[in-house]
């Protein structure tokens, strides 16, 4: 059984979306994940981290990467110490509306829910803990 954990802490600044993405891509590369899985994990990092930078007020973000090599699954846990915010409580946007009726925005979390295999939120003391799970094959 091969399970491993890596983690990284970055300042809550937009440009660190690259730092996080490279950290995860480089860590997962030896497992030969599918290009689609890697792209979708990148999208999830972009959406979740940019929300933390924009709204949480947290100075930094910790990302914990758990990998289960037996079932080729990655779990990414995003931890910030910002204001309590459960993005999963937000109702889904209506994706059948015409362009004219669509609000600009509100798609990020919906997208994460659709392209990840699991999304969970919990408040742990002063921390927001958001976890996504994705199969790599």
């Amino acid at each position: 059984m091969q399970n491993w954990v890596k983690e990284i802490v970055v300042d809550s600044k937009f440009e660190n979306v690259r730092t996080l993405t490279e950290f995860v891509e480089n860590s997962l590369e030896p497992l030969n994940p599918s290009p689609k899985a890697i792209m979708q994990i990148g999208v999830a990092i972009d959406e979740l981290f940019s929300n933390v930078v924009r709204y949480s007020g947290s100075d930094n973000l910790k990302l914990i990467l758990n990998v289960n090599e037996d079932v080729l699954t990655a779990k990414l846990t995003f931890i910030d110490e910002g204001v309590e915010y459960d993005p999963l409580k937000k109702s889904d946007p209506d994706v059948t509306l015409a362009a004219e009726d669509r609000p600009i925005g509100g798609l990020g979390i919906y997208l994460v829910k659709k392209i990840m295999d699991g999304v969970e939120y919990k408040r742990d003391g002063r921390k927001n803990v958001l976890t996504v799970v994705k199969k790599l094959a």
Partner: protein, 98 residues
Amino acid sequence: MKIEKNVDASNMSLALEGRLDTMTAPLLESEIQGKLAGVTNLEFNFAKLTYISSAGLRVLLAAQKIMNKQGKMIIKNACAEIKEIFEVTGFSDILTVV
């Protein structure tokens, strides 16, 4: 991200290379916002675009809303992964992806 922009009378084409995400979407927005006056054909070439997040979708939606009033907009050569992002967000019904 790299943006190659060509304007020929009322035709504007934008070839994007790299990642259209939180960091780069503002670049594309600045190439489009306030610059579509008189444009009736807007074409995006996504052949070298590897990645799109909701920040990129927002810019495309804003452009589509403008072009619905004054002409047409098409997206060419999007890869399968990007097409899937269009599918799950319903953008494939709004955009013209050829």
